[in-house]
Assembly symmetry: C2
Homo-oligomer: 124 residues x 2
Amino acid sequence: MNFFLDFHSRTPIYEQIKEQITALVGSGILKADDQLPSLRQLSSELSVNINTIKRAFSDLESQGIIYSVAGKGSFVSKGTKRDVIAESALEEARLAISKAKSMGAEKSDVLKIVNNIYEGDEET
Amino acid sequence: MNFFLDFHSRTPIYEQIKEQITALVGSGILKADDQLPSLRQLSSELSVNINTIKRAFSDLESQGIIYSVAGKGSFVSKGTKRDVIAESALEEARLAISKAKSMGAEKSDVLKIVNNIYEGDEET
DNA sequence: ATAACTGTGCTAATTGTAATAGCACAGTTG
DNA sequence: CAACTGTGCTATTACAATTAGCACAGTTAT
């Protein structure tokens, strides 16, 4: 697993882990019933305490994105529709864009960014 | 001044204050040399300790958005180009949109949001 | 059965930072 | 002088993130 953690960020480590696992699920890289690395494995890989990993996994389980079985491991949930995941991410984007507008950003500037990010992509 | 503070938010109060003052400047509601409320006035208005207000103002002064004069008060800086302010807000929007994309959000969804936020506005 | 894994559930200690409180000092204005 | 302004401290409180360590329970393979 390729995780990029910023230990000096204001956003907690467990949130960063949640985000990145959610991204892997939302983008389809991780599919239903795929097994995640074990708590202890991730803990040593990322040099992060097992409790911090556990916190992230527990949250993800509460959100229905993963499920854990004692003795076996943690896996990607079946029912989780990607739409739902993207939805919450879009909500944050909406906030950021609104903030940008309130600070004087022009619509054209925002559109440039969107096009830049999605450039080379296919439309649905 | 109409401030909306979320005391339970993860983003610190002084950051919320910075954001909202920055928004007032970036949107042009506050103009160069306009006087801001005094530290003590804002402190009592918002029911926030003066040190917290001071923290916000000091940060804003470091960013060149306002300037303070002992005995007189705090004022909006002259040189601050709105573009610069919008720029930083746009950078955050870029991050949020990228994150949304990585979580599976479609370009069309993002565009809908942008149009929704800017609906009824004039194009530059 | 045992070893080597898995997740679970605690409690405790540490750390960093936001926020508050209070005081003193200096500049401005009337 | 009085009543404001911002500035600069120090100390304290409060909370959340993180780490540490231990014990317990389920799974799997030898």
